[in-house]
């Protein structure tokens, strides 16, 4: 049975409709990410589940109960905010106790026990007496997490909780979030604009664009088989090239704007004008002589960005600019002619 169910949600702010009819559900114990660029309506959807926004029309169910018109405090949820929203006038332990106190869960002793367990879970039990303001960003984040799980809610809502952390801390927290999610069996709805975060944390990703669901599926599925150019660009920041697909004796062939030809997989069915999605990591760069021999596309290096373990090149091909990631074994300079190859089955052919 689904723990969260949204059916045909519409939401307008004034005359602007930000959610033009969205339905999805989250199964019990599932970790689902709402992924999309800022302003796409993903946070609004989360706030609708939390009860912090009302809906213009539609229905919200949590654990089989219609909660559409219930205020947030009557919903069995916990929410973690991007800004952590710790109460500055309370100590760390009092912050974690707050939901228990407000919901009247357990006796004083039981509350103490639970607060201790929750703080242990995030490895902060030694800081219980501190004020929230005296902690670092990462620590505040852990307190917010402890506070969210202490009441053992049916549903955990996370509003970009990791985006204010530096890269190292964020990776640590991701691991921690997954462990806590699995150990407590929480149903989790996670909002993020960070594709890597969504890919690494989620059981399922719901890609949102302009208040609508663009695509949904497991991370592997949605990454490997984006169904639109938006999906392929947003997940994995693929390069988009417009081309025309033609039949040749040796199978379908994509003809680029400058006349260069790129073989496609034999089972490719699309014909006519298309968009090709080429992932940065699938493109292979080699010496220009390869292209002269007919193996690969001719391109020109516009810029190289040294990233330590890898290099990012910006190339010019058929009037478009392509970004690719390569290792350090072969270096090219700005202005060099290079050859570009990609395995036909790695090319994703999408509607233009």
């Amino acid at each position: 049975m689904s723990e969260i169910n949204l059916s045909d949600i519409h939401k307008s702010f004034g005359k602007v409709e930000v959610i033009p009819g969205v339905s999805f559900s989250v199964e019990r114990g599932e970790f689902v990410s709402l992924l999309g660029p800022s302003g796409c309506g993903k946070t609004t959807l989360l706030r609708i589940v939390a009860g912090l926004e009302t809906v213009s029309s539609g229905r919200v169910d949590i654990a089989g109960t219609d909660v559409t018109h219930l205020p947030p405090e009557k919903r069995d949820i916990a929410m973690m905010f991007q800004s952590y929203a710790l109460l500055p006038h309370l100590s760390v332990a009092e912050n974690v106790r707050f939901p228990l106190r407000m919901r009247g869960i357990g006796s004083r002793d039981e509350q103490n026990e639970r607060v201790k367990t929750a703080l242990d879970t995030v490895q902060l039990s030694h800081l219980g007496d501190r004020r929230a303001r005296q902690l670092s960003g990462g620590q505040q984040q852990r307190v917010a997490l402890a506070r969210a799980i202490v009441s053992r809610p049916k549903v955990l809502l996370l509003d970009e909780p990791l985006s204010n952390l530096d890269a190292r801390l964020r990776e640590d927290m991701q691991v921690e979030l997954i462990e806590i999610h699995k150990n407590l069996g929480l149903t989790t709805l996670f909002v993020t604009h960070d594709q890597e975060e969504a890919l690494s944390l989620s059981d399922r990703i719901i890609l949102i664009k302009g208040g609508r669901i663009e695509q949904e599926g497991t991370p592997a599925h949605i990454y490997a088989q984006p169904s639109t150019s938006f999906a392929s660009q947003f997940l994995g920041s693929a390069n988009m090239l417009s081309a025309v697909v033609e039949d040749t004796g040796s199978g379908p062939m994509a003809v680029l704007g400058d006349g260069q030809r790129l073989p496609l997989a034999l089972d490719e069915a699309a014909r006519g004008a298309v968009s090709l999605a080429l992932r940065q990591e699938d493109l292979v760069l080699s010496d220009a002589s390869d292209a002269d021999n007919g193996a690969g596309l001719k391109a020109k290096v516009r810029a190289r960005v040294y990233l330590g373990a890898r290099n990012r090149y910006v190339l010019e091909l058929a009037g478009a600019s392509l970004r690719i990631l390569t290792g350090n074994d072969q270096l090219f300079a700005r202005g060099d002619d290079v050859s570009l190859t990609i395995a036909p089955e790695r090319i994703r052919v999408l509607a233009p």
Binding site: A50, G51, L52, P71, P72, E73, R75, I77, A78, M79, F81, S83, A85, L87, P88, H89, F98, P99, M102, R103, G104, R147, S151, L157
Partner: protein
Amino acid sequence: MTDRLENMALVMPGLLLLGLAFILPVLQMLVLSVSGPDGFTLEHFTRFLSDSYYLGILWRTVRLSALITLITALIGFPLAYIMAKSGPRLRLWLTLIVILPLMTSVVIRTFGWIVLLGRSGMIPSMLRDLGLVGRSFSIIQTESAIVIGMVQVLLPFMTLSVLGVVMSIDGRLEEAARTMGCSFMKTIRTVVLPLSLPGIVAGGLLVFTLSASSFVTPSLLGGSRIQVLAGSIYNAVTQTLEWEFAAAQAVILFVGVALVLVPYLSVTGRRNG
């Protein structure tokens, strides 16, 4: 060194004004309060502190000031909260309405209250017509009249002090409290009120000191029978011409206000430190 000299030069006019126009007279008043015909004396203080009439005036001043402070807080906090949560346009209008009374003279406003509250004024006669009160009912020349008039005069100080603090409270905190099981009223009590305390303290300080030392509104609305300390000082200066006694009363007012404020500040200060 020159920087320091320059700074001194810049500070000097202000210091000079403060010294000549404020500190000097206050010192003079202190000296005056302990001087008698034969030099140093405490007789003005003993006279005040041994006379139940004057002690009554002191007690009334402190009691009414505390009551006025409490009422302005009770009205000012919700008002400030609503102002903070309304849109910028509405907030501008509300702010204007709140500070509008400050733009008219306190005497004029007090006369307005006399018209409304007087024996044949609008409010008493309306209450009499409705049969809610007896024929002899009167508000003017009671402590209630003083409180009503003073609350109106001092409300802006409380409201604006609280508004500044409430505006700076992160709205996410209230939303977070809601998701943790607080109803709206519970959120106000457990989150907004504690976080607004610095503003309420600051507003309370202003209102309490201003009402303890206010003179015009209490004497016009309370009449000569219901005196507060500032009125009593005025009488000593202008009617009985006992300047030493007036000075002693002023010192007592100052000490009395300080006695109330210091514990108040230390209690609330510790909570917010």
